[in-house]
């Protein structure tokens, strides 16, 4: 197991860089087609006259904006996520045991001590965020904190520390930016379609239709606006699910005690409370899926996490192999 986590880190760093590149190109393409779609909607003649210049401009500006969003997400995204989830930073004196456990796991992983946050919520959950081990934070809900024994807490924190050490946090942070931007773009498109729709019908009466080309572009844009956000999220959740298994395995490598995390996951399994502050944009960051209606069909492509019973089974296998 030992040599693989280095490969994993290298892979995560590579994927993060690749993600930003693809994200910029993807956003540019989406923006280009959506822009053409908007042009087709508002002024069908413009598309017929092939005003590619303006559309390319729109794509270029979108790519630059995407890059700016990536940079912003990279440097400030962790603060944003912590703020959105209602996390409050705590000090050693507030919860010495929690701090000690976090520090123990940071030592075992050979990374600096991350910041520790608490979320005042009865739901059982925890997450880690940041851009690298030097700029990282772990957050845990008060509900989970109260229910876990020291061993179980150690398992959960080891899982989060593994996300930090393995650079999962960076990849996930950029993923969140990607999905957020794509969703925003398509929302923006729908808003224009809705407000411009009325004008279009009157225009086309006068002009006698925009011709098949304008219609095709418009339909393509509609399809993209529908499909792109879903596609982005499917990719995000697929990546996230895989990371969860890896983080569980790395956690055991740190604690050398699979039972602790297995017991903690069993407690999460029994939890029915929904995290108040959770939304789909940050769901993939948590140790277990915070949105419970997805849990029932957790094997589907829309699940940010693998089913808990699978994760527990894998940990049990480790316990019995010892």
């Amino acid at each position: 197991m030992n040599p693989t986590f280095r490969d994993l880190i290298a892979e995560n760093k590579r994927n993060s860089a690749l993600l930003v590149l693809i994200f910029c190109l993807f956003t540019a393409a989406v923006a280009l087609i959506l822009a053409l779609g908007i042009v087709a909607l508002l002024d069908p003649k413009a598309v017929a006259q092939l005003r590619w210049g303006e559309a390319l401009w729109a794509g270029g500006i979108a790519a630059v904006l995407a890059l700016l969003f990536s940079l912003l997400g990279y440097y400030r995204g962790d603060r944003f996520i912590l703020a959105v989830s209602g996390a409050r930073r705590i000090r050693h004196a507030d919860d010495p045991e929690l701090f000690n456990v976090v520090e123990e796991m940071a030592i075992a992983a050979g990374i600096p001590m991350p910041e520790v946050y608490q979320i005042d919520d009865p739901a059982l959950n925890a997450f880690a965020t940041g851009r690298d081990p030097q700029h990282a934070a772990v957050a845990i809900t008060t509900g989970l904190r109260r229910q876990l024994t020291r061993d179980e807490l150690q398992g959960v924190i080891a899982h989060e520390i593994s996300h930090i050490r393995n650079y999962d946090i960076r990849l996930m942070l950029l993923m969140a930016v990607l999905v957020g931007t794509v969703v925003m773009l398509s929302d923006f498109f729908w808003q224009i379609v809705r407000s411009g729709g009325g004008r279009r019908t009157t225009d086309s009466k006068d002009e006698g239709g925009s011709g098949p080309f304008g219609l095709i572009v418009f339909l393509l844009a509609v399809m993209l606006a529908l499909v792109a956000p879903i596609l982005a999220q499917i990719i995000q959740f697929a990546v996230s699910r895989q990371r969860e298994y890896l983080a569980d395995a790395s956690a055991v490598e740190l604690t050398r005690y699979p039972q602790g995390l297995a017991n903690a996951l069993r407690k999460l399994q029994g939890d029915t409370a929904v995290l108040r502050t959770a939304n789909r944009g940050i769901a993939h960051l948590f140790i277990a899926n915070p949105i419970k209606k997805f849990q029932e069909r957790a094997e589907s492509v829309f699940a940010s996490h693998p089913p808990l019973k699978d994760r527990i089974a894998r940990l049990e296998a480790l316990i019995h192999s010892k």
């Binding site: 280095r6 010495p96 000690n100 123990e104 050979g110 150690q154």
Partner: protein, 188 residues
């Protein structure tokens, strides 16, 4: 220039560059093992610093357990002054066992067990014991990576050339091994 000369120069250049990359990789792995080792010392020192407070707190409730307290202080001083890896490990083990005795003795004093600062110190000491074992575990992890890197081809050639040596693991005795595997909070 002769074409074979150019080819030779290119081949030698590539080999030198590859050699430098491998060398630097080995150096950073070596530094990592050294860092991991010093991290163990940091945690050991932390434990030494906690003990005077603990002894003071226990004294207030269980003054006639003088012998046990003396032993803890002696073991602590021995651990601080111990030199060499083997002697240090032995002194630290002795300190661990005197601390175990102290916490076992404390069980007989309900007032002491209910004391907030005693409970706090107990948590801190438990955590420090854990930190020590996790720091050792991390040390062994990076040592095993370094040692494996030394043996791999072609790094082994560079390693032989520049005298990189295998680093020794931190050895735990059987009793300590069992303690590491156990649930941490029942250690005392």
């Amino acid at each position: 220039m002769e074409p074979w000369l150019i080819i030779t120069v290119i081949v030698v250049g590539v080999l030198v560059l590859a050699g430098i990359a491998v060398y630097n990789g080995l150096v950073s792995k070596k530094v990592e093992t050294e860092n991991a080792w010093s991290q163990i010392d940091v945690q050991l020192k932390r434990r030494h610093d906690l003990i005077p407070n603990l002894v003071e707190t226990v004294k207030g409730y269980a003054a006639h357990e003088k012998e046990t307290l003396e032993k803890v202080i002696q073991a602590r001083n021995a651990a601080i002054t111990a030199h060499g890896i083997a002697a240090q490990a032995q002194a630290e083990n002795a300190l661990t066992s005197t601390l175990k005795t102290l916490f076992a003795v404390a069980e007989a004093y309900p007032d002491l067990k209910a004391n907030q600062s005693f409970l706090g110190l107990q948590e801190e000491l438990t955590a420090t014991e854990n930190r020590i074992s996790f720091a050792r575990q991390h040390y062994n992890d990076v040592v095993s990576q370094y040692n494996a890197a030394l043996m791999r081809f072609p790094a082994n050639i560079v390693a032989n050339l520049f005298g990189f040596r295998q680093v020794e693991f931190f050895q735990l005795d059987a009793a300590e091994m069992a303690a590491v595997r156990q649930a941490p909070q029942v250690k005392f």
